[in-house]
Amino acid sequence: MSPQILEKVDNIIDKYNKDSSVLIGMLQDIQQECKYLPKEALLHLKNKLRVPLPQIYAVATFYKAFSLRPRGKHFIQVCLGTACHVRGAPKILEEIERKLSIKSGETTEDLNFTLETVNCLGACALGPLMVVDGKYFGKMTPGKAGKILKRYRNK
């Protein structure tokens, strides 16, 4: 763990005035900085906030937004909201899983892609919907999904 990241964690703690009730907000900021929650960052948080580690671990594993493992360079989300589901989202997910040889929630071995599903992004007119690094791709078909992956593969 580099000292820079610990410094970043310190800054995040200070931003919230060491208020442990904002634990979720702090973890979100760490997740954003590091793309996941590194073990050292959580230990550091424990020491600084004087919050028991099990409590931090419970929060970090309860909420879907957090990951304890490093995420890939590109973050793919497939929306599995009801509207996307009835318009064929499961087939999009399967195609991506097949193309990347990983399951939802996993990261490719080369750390290029992380694939996750999301319950609803509230853009139902675009369904089925996939999001890569925050960019929305609407009205997906399995074929289109494969082509989008290709575009990001060498990026």
């Binding site: 979720i24 909420y63 509207a83 139902c124």
Partner: protein, 617 residues
């Protein structure tokens, strides 16, 4: 910006800039909702800016990025004022023509007009479009009129005047009385009387009280709260400040989903602006009343939409609900009296104060007053957000506003109320929509998701979908919810795989009763609803899966096969190349064949065939 200290100062402030605004000045209003932003939207904005620069029109034409207009199916949407010409699916390449034709010469660009898919008629203005005609956009309509990041736009349309009125001339008790009289009920799912909730919280003992805005909109397929927070955040804030005054709270929280980055951004800006103008902070409008609002971003847990779970999450802990024998209005956040309402409920408050409870109570049905925003999605022509008076029928929403089902398909059901709700079949399309009626047929209002499904949707699969969602989202505290949903999901999965057995339906019903009776919070208590309503109205589909091992909608993978129609197949080799399993064989210009033992039923051949030659059997 100097803080505004009295109602009079607020009115003067509003008049000072409203007078300067020329209502006849050309204004290009571009929808800035999430769905519109997904279609090369930034390029579109840049193109408008560049064209205005190029034609030296900066003094003559304004551009404003407004909140969501609701008609997400047709984005990006652009409305040209003052004529109010309504253009849809606007692209970068249309920009120069819009400016030279419509903005400068008042001529219509025909190809950008909305064409009614049923009647084939073109609509020039927003209110000519069928999608908007039957709506009553009291809460949501202002989205299209204002730039949500500019507080003066909100003040210009009468914003914060209700707050001024309340703080200068209405007592907290009178405010509560007015809200009770209006008949407003919580829009988040419970449907409890908002005014009564406020009253109980006011009466609760304690000096420190909190108000919370629940913006953790977790229902899949529902996004009205997101669009309100994105498109008109000040209306939500104004409602919260009025509520806090009535209850006697000095601190408030907005708990918003982190999956809604634009909503988070806009509510942040709104809070800052409200502070700068003196609508938040100490001694608001010189009344002696002080109130501040903080934002908390949710961690992506559906159960946190439940009030007690949301409060424990706000305290920085795992979001588990607790029993409610002591109500949160008496002991909520940090064990202090806490009043929680959802985004849409708060947004109704300034309107009720402005127009009066009597006016408001005239809208809607006997027990459900006002309007409700629904997110009309799924297999529907006009996907979008619709605001309608309570009591309107499902048929009017789906056919008159939603434009019916695409592709000439047959309507099958509408799912309301999210994972806690149920499916309403075609025979009940004339049901007037209000809290009681939806509950009576086994569904519920919920937060307002309305997912339309057609003949190609398998109802057993829909039930399985919701249970799989709920299995993931159950917090795990109650055994019946944690284990019961899992077992129900196993049974449903078996049924969709053609391994259903006699007695499965009855077992599902029995498990449902136990889960309903023995779960602590609404997530568990309502979890069986999607299963129970689909069994109630679509029992034949369950039986077809179990007895005949057939999926009538041809969705369940284990029960279907893909085949090629030799008559229709032209032998173009397209599917053969696309198939990821090399399961299709054949020669050019000769009918192809699918090797069933290799086929994984991914559907890619079906999707890629241009001659409809791939059949599902």
């Amino acid at each position: 910006m100097e803080k505004i200290k009295t109602l009079e100062e607020l009115e003067n402030f509003r008049d000072s800039f409203v007078k300067k605004r020329d209502p006849n000045k050309a204004r290009i209003a571009i929808c800035g909702g999430t769905a519109c932003r997904a279609h090369a939207w930034e390029e579109l904005i840049r193109a408008f800016e560049a064209e205005i620069e190029k034609q030296e029109l900066k003094e003559k034409v304004d551009i404003s990025i407004t909140g969501c207009h609701g008609f997400c199916e047709r984005g990006p949407l652009v409305v040209i004022h003052p004529q109010r010409v309504f253009y849809q699916q606007v692209k970068e390449s249309d920009v120069a023509e819009i400016i030279s034709e419509t903005v400068l010469n008042n001529r219509i660009v025909e190809r950008l007009l909305y064409i009614d898919p049923v009647k084939g008629e073109k609509a020039i203005y927003e209110d000519e479009v069928d999608f908007y005609k039957k709506q009553q956009r009291l809460i949501f309509g202002n989205n299209g009129k204002i730039d949500p990041t500019d507080i003066t736009d909100y003040i210009a349309i009468g914003g914060y005047i209700s707050l001024g009125k309340v703080l200068t001339s209405i007592s907290p008790e009178q405010v509560i009385e007015e809200i009770i009289k209006s008949g407003l009920r919580g829009r988040g799912g419970g449907g409890f009387s908002t005014g009564r909730k406020w009253l109980y919280c006011r009466q609760a003992e304690g000096d420190i009280k909190y108000v919370i805005c629940n913006a953790d909109e977790g229902d899949p397929g529902a996004y009205m709260d997101r669009s309100l927070l994105e498109g008109n955040p000040h209306s939500v804030l104004e409602g919260m400040i009025i509520g806090a005054y009535a209850i006697g709270a000095r601190e408030g929280y907005v708990y918003v989903r982190n999956e809604y980055p634009l909503a988070v951004k806009h509510i942040k800006i709104a809070i800052k602006q409200a502070e700068n103008h003196g609508f938040l902070g100490d001694d608001i409008l010189g009344s002696g009343f002080s109130f501040s609002v903080k934002i908390n971003r949710g961690g992506g847990a559906f159960v946190c939409g439940e009030s007690t779970a949301l409060m424990t999450s706000l305290e920085g802990r795992v979001g588990e609900p607790r029993a409610k024998h002591i109500h949160t209005v008496e002991s909520g956040l940090w064990e202090k009296p806490t009043n929680l309402n959802n985004v849409e409920t708060w947004a109704n408050v300034p309107l009720i104060i402005a127009k009066g409870a009597d006016w408001y109570a005239k809208i809607g049905t006997k027990s459900s007053k006002g309007t409700k925003i629904f997110s009309l999605v799924g297999k529907i022509n006009n996907t979008g957000l619709v605001e309608v008076p309570m009591g309107i029928t499902l048929r009017e929403i789906i056919y008159d506003i939603g434009g019916g089902i695409p592709g000439g398909k047959k309507f099958k059901a509408v799912q309301t109320g999210g994972p806690s709700g149920g499916c309403v079949p075609e025979s009940m399309l004339d049901l007037p929509v209000d809290f009681e009626e939806l509950t009576r047929v086994g569904s519920m209002m919920g937060s307002g998701g309305m997912i339309v499904v057609d003949e190609d949707t398998c109802m057993v699969d829909v039930a399985r979908y919701f249970l799989s969602f709920l299995q993931d989202e159950s917090c795990g505290k109650c055994t019946s919810c944690r284990e019961g949903i899992k077992r129900m999901l196993e049974i449903l999965t078996r049924i969709t795989q053609g391994k259903g057995e006699k007695g499965d339906i009855e077992l599902l019903e029995e498990l449902s009763e136990v889960i309903k009776d023995t779960s602590l919070c609404a997530l568990g208590q309502t979890a069986p609803n999607p299963v129970l309503t689909t069994i109630r109205y679509f029992r034949d589909e369950y039986e077809a899966h179990i007895k005949d091992k057939k999926c009538p909608a041809k969705v369940c993978r284990e029960l279907i096969t893909y085949a090629i129609d030799e008559e229709k197949c032209t032998g173009c080799m397209r599917c053969l190349k696309e198939c990821p399993q090399q399961a299709i064989v054949g020669e050019r210009k000769k009918p192809h064949q699918i090797l069933q033992e290799k086929c994984i039923k991914c559907g890619i051949c079906y999707e890629s065939c241009r001659f409809d030659a791939v059949k599902v059997e």
